[in-house]
Subunit: 309 residues, 2 copies
């Protein structure tokens, strides 16, 4: 059965932040304390006010509320897939304000790297209670039983987040294994909007966006690589399907040279590097044109290569 | 030559909005009027102040400035690819605040549909000067000469925007032809961040995100469709490449039934529908599991189908 059981749970508590500098919302009486009258207000609820209203709220207390309204949107108990920036870019340039509000409601994070996840959360909000949060590292290899344990907080009714090192989790990045387990256990999964270098590369390339394929890394062995490149080029020409692939930055120049020596002169190629950063470089030319072009230094810039006819 | 000529142009004018309600920025003297001393302040510059500072600005006057700093980011003279919402979703849920500032600096838009583009601009900012803006419709068929004419404003040093009907322009949507011409003419192209139903479907599916292909619409003829589906399934199993395709909403149920009767029992399939809307439905099961599941009514909800082993 599709797992909408959790969604159907009744709303319980809404919280307003009490710091007027951090919210433009009207606080309608300190109902939060009233609700907790008779038993002490838990320490982690300090700084929040409670209301049963369905008016927009900007913060919710994560351990106490099931759903909350963010204007038209309900925050559900779910596994949120949280994109991060693609480099040293301001958060406001690439992430919707909504993500901030969702993130503020989460205390359990499954992450690719704990240090950079913490740094990201501090960037999102300097006052994010990192020390009150749990972090679970995904590690190199998927371990179904361990991953299933990680999801216990979600099964207990607490929203969780997945954060990878750059861009969108589970796309050209770890996270898909966790999502697969959540799907198998009928847990709700909600992707948030953020920068995807793949999609932005397709957008900016001018190559066919009605049909495209992301192929990850190519083989390292020169012969295997040339063979794979030829196969991708053939598919691009036969199916008019744009083919995307990536390379470790320090090998970008080598890849560029291999592409020039391997592909047909009339194949169009886009190099999309440093997307959303100050080093952004997105250019499309035919192979014969690229041979006349001096590539800028991309040895430290993540790049995507796209080819099509 | 890579076309960074335009980027290298010196900054000329920066403008601050004068309405204090709409900006929290410090206005540093009315240099704008000073700059235009000796010749009348053009009518369209009213309401703006000029400064040569490189401090953050929130608005720029589109006809008078080449670049402006948005905190760390320079607004360049470029063809901006402007994503829109995927349905009746709040702008702040799916678009970064930065997009607002960029959009406010543009007066020339190449659009899939003029009416919905105008509606979107009003949604972005109620005070967007729509009547002072130019709209160029992309139309059904690419016409290189016409499209090249559309780009004249960009060649004249004015930023332009591309807006499609839903999500990201040029991805499963028109816009790629315009971008291709801009790339050919060495004009700068800048994709902005926004909701891509493809990427969000891959994220939420738990299927392989290291390799995936978007295939657009499948053939309508039942035999051709079944053949194509079999080919995609084979590719998914042989290459472990997640295969995505779409269907017109009113045919979603038909597609679902065809998938159940055509694919192998152990093939995993994700249905990702109404992404970012209140109808969002993202579930992954094997075909044999899907046969036991009552699909909700998706006859009016845009859906993406994803398969893999």
């Amino acid at each position: 059965m599709p797992p909408d059981i959790l969604i159907a749970q009744p709303r319980r508590c809404f919280y307003y932040p009490m710091d007027p500098k951090r919210s433009s919302l009207q606080v309608e009486g300190n109902r939060h304390q009233q609700r907790h009258k008779g038993h002490p207000l838990p320490q982690e609820h300090r700084g929040y006010q409670h209301t049963d209203s369905t008016k927009p709220v900007q913060r919710l207390h994560p351990e106490c509320s099931t759903t909350f309204r963010h204007k038209d949107t309900i925050m559900e108990i779910a596994l949120y897939l949280i994109p991060v920036t693609l480099g040293p870019t301001e958060i406001g340039q690439v992430l919707p304000a909504y993500n901030h509000d969702i993130i503020m409601g989460i205390r359990h994070f499954i992450v690719e790297n704990i240090r950079s996840a913490r740094r990201f959360l501090r960037q999102v909000d300097r006052e994010f209670p990192i020390d009150d949060s749990q972090f679970y590292e995904m590690g190199k290899h998927a371990d179904e039983r361990l991953f299933s344990q990680y999801l216990q907080a979600l099964r207990d009714g607490k929203p969780m987040g997945v954060i990878s090192e750059a861009g969108c989790p589970a796309v050209a990045d770890p996270g898909a294994d966790i999502v697969a387990i959540a799907q198998r256990q009928n847990l709700r999964v909600i992707p948030l909007v953020g920068p995807s270098s793949m999609i932005m590369a397709v957008m900016g390339s001018g190559l066919n966006g009605q049909s495209f394929a992301f192929n990850g890394y190519l083989p390292v062995d020169p012969q295997d690589r040339a063979k794979k490149l030829k196969a991708l080029e053939t598919r691009a020409w036969n199916e008019h399907q744009t083919q995307l692939f990536i390379e470790t930055p320090y090998r970008n120049l080598k890849m560029f040279q291999t592409l020039l020596s391997t592909l047909r002169p009339q194949t169009r190629m886009c190099i999309a590097a440093g997307i959303t950063t100050t080093e952004e470089y997105i250019h499309t030319h035919t192979i014969v044109e690229w041979k006349k072009i001096q590539l800028p230094d991309l040895s430290k810039v993540p790049a995507i290569f796209l080819i099509n006819k």
